[in-house]
């Protein structure tokens, strides 16, 4: 047991943080939020590819750095702390990871080196009109036709689809005995005829898209994993994606705590810094507790994922816990900043809005609590 970052991990942490502070100040974050067209900076994207971050978890034989999920969460924590808008998360977590886990050798050779080099932006089209991460929510159909499958349906909240080169689409290829049965994943070229994409205006301004599939033909070779048996891959995406999202959130929590404490030491009312009032001190103490418990919970689960220790229950625990902690903590951050905290100009709102979008991503709190209840052995 050594519950501290290794020297190499500390270096990575510092490097990512320094890079983001310099290259992506809040002025850029706001610019990218307002940018309807792209929503990300190709310069930053290129720089991150050059630093090897896009291929961080991709094995060296496919052009990556061959690091573990733990190192990925270190990068994501800093991205959450500094807020980096763009397709890093969708490309690495929703593209590279499922291809690594379920892709054929050919698919790995085709896509992973190009993801590592920054050439390809990936995303995943999973959610539909029901808005649920349950298998029952997937109605989009893919029917075989010659050497292809033809996809029809509408996907919602597809992150960065408007700039993606490829998306992994989850569709129903068979009416199975259960909703989990008969699902298949497809690697789809976004330029395929019949794909229509539109950005949905959202609280996080994080470019979640509606993607309509109208008779979109996808070659059979682009099926990811086994035909009709895609659900376990999606479960993995939800599990690891949830932990990855929680890793971003703990970064945001630390920033909000720091901002609040700094402000409480500077802001003077009744002739003293407001941080001298116990009513506020105890809230900040609770913010510290929430931040520390969230962090070490995420670190523990990220370690389990990296070691290949089964942790479906623990991953759901981490996502459910951090969802609530981040939302509560950002609420308190706004409250302790008073009027200024509510303004568009202040950074606090950037985090407050993202805490809600982070909660929704990969399943909100109640969804994960139900997974926890199930995995604790409560009979259904």
């Amino acid at each position: 047991m050594d519950i501290a970052f290794t020297e190499e991990q500390e270096m990575l942490r510092t490097m990512v943080s320094d890079f983001l502070v310099k290259e992506c100040p809040k002025s850029i974050v706001r610019e990218l939020e307002e940018d309807e067209e792209k929503g990300y900076s190709p310069q930053i994207w290129k720089a991150m590819a050059d630093l090897g971050w896009l291929g961080l978890i991709i094995p060296e034989e496919y052009g990556g750095m061959g690091m573990t999920f733990q190192e990925l969460t270190i990068i994501l924590e800093q991205m959450g702390a500094n807020i980096l808008p763009g397709p890093y998360f969708s490309t690495v977590v929703k593209g590279a990871m499922p291809i690594l886990d379920a892709g054929s050798e050919e698919q790995k050779r085709e896509f992973l080196p190009r993801i590592a080099s920054g050439e390809l932006i990936f995303t995943m089209a999973l959610l539909e009109a029901d808005g649920t991460y349950d298998a029952s929510g997937i109605a989009t159909k893919a029917a075989p036709q010659g050497d292809s499958f033809v996809i029809n349906g509408t996907k919602l909240f597809v992150e960065m689809a408007h700039v993606a080169d490829y998306l992994i689409c989850v569709a129903r290829t068979k009416d199975g005995a259960s909703p989990e049965d008969g699902l298949t994943l497809f690697i789809v070229d976004v330029r395929s005829p019949g794909i229509h994409c539109e950005v949905i205006p959202t609280m996080g301004m994080d470019k979640l898209c509606e993607v309509r599939f109208e008779n979109v033909a996808v070659p059979k070779k682009d099926v990811l994993g086994e035909l009709d048996k895609g659900w376990p891959i999606i479960e993995q995406v939800i599990e690891k994606g949830g932990v990855a999202k929680a890793a971003e959130s703990i970064g945001g929590m630390q920033t909000c705590l720091d901002m609040t404490v700094t402000y409480a030491k500077e802001r003077v009312q009744y002739d003293r810094p407001i941080g001298a009032f116990q009513a506020l001190q105890h809230i900040m103490a609770d913010m510290w507790i929430a931040t520390q418990t969230s962090k070490y919970l995420v670190y523990m689960v990220a370690w389990m994922e990296s070691e290949g220790i089964p942790c479906a229950k623990e991953a759901a625990i981490a996502k459910a816990y951090v969802n609530e902690a981040y939302k509560w903590l950002t609420d308190r951050t706004v409250q302790l900043h008073g009027g200024i905290g509510t303004s568009r100009d202040h950074d606090v709102g950037l985090y407050y809005r993202r805490a809600k979008t982070a909660d929704i991503a990969f399943g909100a709190t109640d969804f994960h609590r139900e997974l926890v209840a199930d995995r604790m052995g409560l009979l259904r």
């Binding site: 047991m1 050594d2 116990q278 510290w288 507790i289 520390q292 418990t293 523990m300 609590r369 209840a373």
Partner: protein, 395 residues
């Protein structure tokens, strides 16, 4: 970052769990929590039996230097605490082992270490802590019990309160005022040990709201105790009490106890039907149990971090306060959850009508022992705010 235990550690941890699991089978009916240790003769005897069992194996002195009978490591002590928490096994004197021994190791004279540490390790002597007074609770340094020097003795006068187990303990360690004229209230205090059978010491019970006898008032009327049992220096007792801040207190025992309780609730819900439907199928109950499970796991993760820091001799005192506050509040939530799930049976004291041996009827009342004693949760939040976040103290 590595949470992995070595094979040796896993084996050691399993051994602690096995022994505590065996001891659980001899537990008196309805025994749970600290109150059960001190409340009945039967409970106290179970505590002493467990203590002897642990002493025989050398487990009371885990992590102490070997010259005082110590063996094992700080992490062993952590695993041992987990096992005792999980099975709610007594046998480790909170005061003698968890508070006094580290204080003696840090500030006691060689003679005192040699006299008391082996006895503590052998479970031959049980202690109580006499700190709080009627007008000195969180503001401990406001205490007024005096110990005035008369030759080789101090003459004690005053009153202590909330003295857990004072009616059962052999010896006490106390914080007393040896210099009533000191410039500030923190000066002039002395950390002193003495025999509870000393003439002039009277112990009176303060019953807990559930009628349990855990707390006491202790009165001193010209009680004469030897000067030689001062820990550290005379008038410098405040500094001695602060040594405890750095000692292992990961709260993992309390956290593991809650883990076990959640397992018990899952079992209960899987077996119990209300309105023809298993409680386990009730979505609200599922959600609330899962919510608590998330919080228990979060507490456990940070507690391991605290334990790891302390094993490495890094302080981690602020995180230890964080875990204490969090685990205390969590035990309150768990008590409420359990009592809610049991419905009308949640109010039943141990009897034929009480599910789970009436545990939640007791726990609903007793969780304050965690949130109030050893520094209230409010004091712990002050510590986090002042020393962790650097926020200004209001004078």
């Amino acid at each position: 970052m590595d949470f992995k235990l070595t094979d040796e550690q896993v084996a050691r941890r399993n051994e602690f769990f096995e022994v505590c699991g065996e001891l659980e089978k001899k537990k008196p009916a309805n025994f749970s929590g600290i109150e059960s240790i001190y409340d009945s003769d039967e409970g106290w005897q179970y505590h002493l039996n467990c203590a002897k069992e642990f002493a025989k194996r050398g487990w009371i002195a885990l992590g102490w230097p070997s010259e005082y009978g110590g063996q094992g490591s700080v992490m062993d002590r952590v695993f041992f605490a987990e096992a005792r928490g999980y099975y709610d096994t007594p046998g480790v004197d909170i005061f003698g082992v968890a508070m006094l021994a580290p204080t003696l190791l840090g500030a006691g004279s060689e003679e005192m270490k040699r006299e008391f540490l082996p006895k503590i390790a052998a479970a031959e002597i049980m202690f109580c802590e006499l700190w709080s007074e009627p007008n000195a609770g969180s503001d401990l340094a406001a205490l007024t019990t005096t110990a005035l020097r008369d030759g080789d003795e101090y003459v004690l006068n005053g009153q202590k309160t909330w003295s857990t187990g004072a009616h059962r303990s052999d010896w006490a360690f106390a914080l007393v005022r040896t210099d009533p004229h000191a410039e500030t209230k923190h000066r002039g205090l002395t950390f002193l040990m003495f025999d509870m059978k000393t003439p002039g010491i009277t112990v009176k019970p303060i019953l807990y709201m559930d009628r349990g006898h855990l707390y006491n008032e202790v009165f001193f009327d010209d009680a004469r105790v030897p000067v030689k049992y001062v820990v550290g220096e005379e008038n410098k007792g405040w500094g001695v009490t602060q040594l405890l801040a750095g000692f292992e207190r990961s709260s993992l025992d309390a956290i593991m106890m809650m883990r076990r309780q959640l397992e018990g609730l899952v079992e209960y819900c899987n077996e119990t039907k209300v309105g023809g439907e298993l409680l386990a199928k009730n979505p609200i109950i599922r959600n609330r149990i899962a919510e608590l499970a998330c919080q228990v796991e979060a507490a456990r993760a940070l507690a391991y971090r605290v334990a790891d820091q302390q094993a490495k001799n890094e302080m981690g005192a602020i995180d230890a306060s964080a875990v204490k506050v969090f685990a205390g509040d969590l035990s309150a939530r768990l008590a409420r959850l359990g009592a809610d799930i049991l419905g009308p049976y949640g109010q039943v004291r141990s009897s034929k009508w009480a599910p789970l041996e009436g545990f939640y009827e007791k726990q609903y009342q007793q969780y304050f022992i965690l949130t109030v004693s050893m520094g209230t949760n409010e004091i712990q939040r002050n510590i986090i705010a002042w020393y962790g976040l650097g926020l200004p103290r209001m004078r």
